[in-house]
């Protein structure tokens, strides 16, 4: 039972965090591991969408999220945060991008700043799982299929039915209105009777 470290305040991540880190085998030990992840985070901030092995992407994702959340929390006047950005972003022009582009983009968001997808692995090839890691709000076309036009999805089925019903109602109203008008024009002949009788006749016809 250890006490929580309270020296620093950190915002809660909006992604699922594993209880333990992955070691990402490296000859240089933990420092080499971090260098690997720094390269990934730098590439992510630079290109906004990258494709890489799943484990490395999943590890780097947490670091990228925390870097952005720290930048949002402290801003660019905070020395420790600036040092962090300097360490994690190997290309220094990206420090400007972090504070001037990404911070305004994510300031008011209440979901995670990054998104991760599982990608297919090429066969035959290296057996590692692959993934796509991207920043939200990137300029590229979306990777998820657009289901809004799929006619078989339940919400679309329901919408279609509602639309049909609405049209039917409108037509019925129109018919009633027309009938009423004709009734007013020729008050001697009852207008509504033929309207109601007609379907009965049509129904009877196929039976007979």
């Amino acid at each position: 039972m250890n006490q929580a470290d309270v020296s620093k305040l950190i915002s809660q991540l909006r992604i699922a965090v594993r209880p333990n880190k992955r070691h990402l085998k490296n000859v240089d030990g933990p420092e080499g591991r971090l260098l690997k992840l720094r390269k990934t985070v730098t590439a992510l901030v630079k290109h906004e969408r990258i494709e890489l092995f799943y484990n490395r992407a999943d590890e780097a994702r947490g670091y990228a999220e925390l870097l952005i959340s720290n930048a949002i929390r402290h801003g660019d006047r905070h020395k420790a945060t600036m040092e962090l950005a300097d360490y994690w972003l190997l290309e220094k022009q990206l420090v400007h991008k972090l504070f001037k582009v990404l911070v305004p983009r994510y300031e008011n968001s209440n979901i995670s700043y990054t998104r991760m997808f599982k990608a297919p692995r090429d066969y035959p090839g290296i057996f590692y799982r692959k993934s796509v890691l991207e920043l939200r709000g990137n300029p590229f076309p979306v990777l998820t299929p657009d289901n809004s036009q799929n006619r078989n999805l339940l919400h679309n089925v329901l919408l279609d039915e509602a639309r049909k019903e609405f049209r039917r109602e409108k037509l019925a109203n129109l018919a009633n209105k027309l009938a009423a008008e004709t009734e007013n024009a020729t008050p001697s002949t009852p207008a509504q009777v033929p309207v109601t009788e007609q379907p009965e006749q049509s129904e009877e016809a196929p039976k007979a």
Partner: protein, 301 residues
């Protein structure tokens, strides 16, 4: 406004009636309570003050935060423990103290029935959380270094006094074991040194002088701020090995820090839960203190 009040009273009355009828079910009453709260807020106006938890609570009551290790988390157990801790705090005054403060703990012993023992010493370490929170006191008595581990919520503890409230430069003071005895010698009959109300806790920047090697730990590797003469006793090989053992990248390892701490949102939730109770206990303590200040002077002029 009047209409609002009328509606409110009506609705409240309805809710109470409802409550009275359905006493066996908790769920509808909870819902009713939840429904009642926003209405009352509407009536009182938009400036509804919520209990604001002071930022220093996480330093004063670190044991209320759970262990960050995910495998050991259990929200229900944590909550029950917090309730038990508050129960204990209602029985006994457990004051604010830090590593480096000088405490006097009066406790009873199952093997010495009807007797109590008082131990004065400097707190060299605080660890664990929840009901298991504990601290180590150290003193030198009859030229013999003595350390006692106390559990903060142990029911055999009868009184905890803070004789001198201060911090040191380091998070734990285990190096006092290798320091000269005068640095961990404290008078048993020391009197309470009171701080001004609202003053920040002073940091004692005393530099401790170590004995020559052999030491219990490799202090040269730990980047201690409160030790004066490490350089005096280490050789080049120690210097090299300590350089090798340094981990300068750890301050950039964000996920490591994240996994070692409780996120801010969760901390807020936890302290919002216990804040009112702790605050009332604090106020009570202050009142008691004021009463205690009118003590007859020992030495008459």
């Amino acid at each position: 406004m009047n209409i609002n009040v009328r509606i409110l009273t009506k609705s409240v009355a309805q809710q109470y009636a409802f409550k009275r009828i359905v006493t066996f079910s908790t769920k509808p009453t909870q819902q009713a309570a939840a429904a009642a709260v926003p209405q009352q807020q509407e009536v009182t106006g938009s400036t509804v003050r919520r209990p604001i938890v002071p930022a220093h609570y996480r330093f004063v009551y670190p044991e209320f935060l759970p262990d960050p290790k995910v495998e050991w988390r259990n929200t229900i157990r944590e909550k029950l423990e917090r309730l038990d801790m508050l129960d204990r705090r209602r029985q006994i005054e457990l004051p604010e103290f830090y590593v480096g403060s000088i405490l006097a703990v009066t406790s009873s012993d199952p093997h010495a029935a009807g007797k109590t023992s008082r131990f004065v010493g400097i707190c060299i370490h605080r660890e664990r959380c929840g009901l298991r929170a504990r601290f180590i006191l150290r003193n030198v008595i009859d030229h013999q270094g003595i350390e006692v581990v106390y559990e903060l919520y142990d029911p055999t503890i009868q009184k905890v006094e803070v004789l001198r409230l201060e911090k040191r430069l380091d998070d734990s003071l285990f190096y006092l074991r290798d320091a000269l005895p005068e640095y961990s010698t404290f008078d048993e009959n020391m009197e309470v040194e009171s701080l001004e109300e609202g003053a920040p806790v002073p940091v004692n920047d005393i530099k401790v002088v170590l004995r020559p090697r052999p030491w219990l730990e490799r202090w040269e590797r730990q980047n201690l701020l409160g030790v004066a003469n490490i350089e005096q006793y280490i050789k080049d090989k120690h210097r090299k090995s300590s350089e090798k053992a340094q981990k300068p990248w750890e301050k950039y390892d964000l996920m490591k820090q994240y996994r070692a701490t409780i996120p801010e949102e969760e901390q807020k939730e936890i302290f919002a839960e216990v804040h009112t109770e702790l605050h009332t206990l604090e106020l009570q303590r202050k009142r008691n203190k004021r009463k205690r200040t009118f003590v007859k002077p020992k030495h008459l002029a």
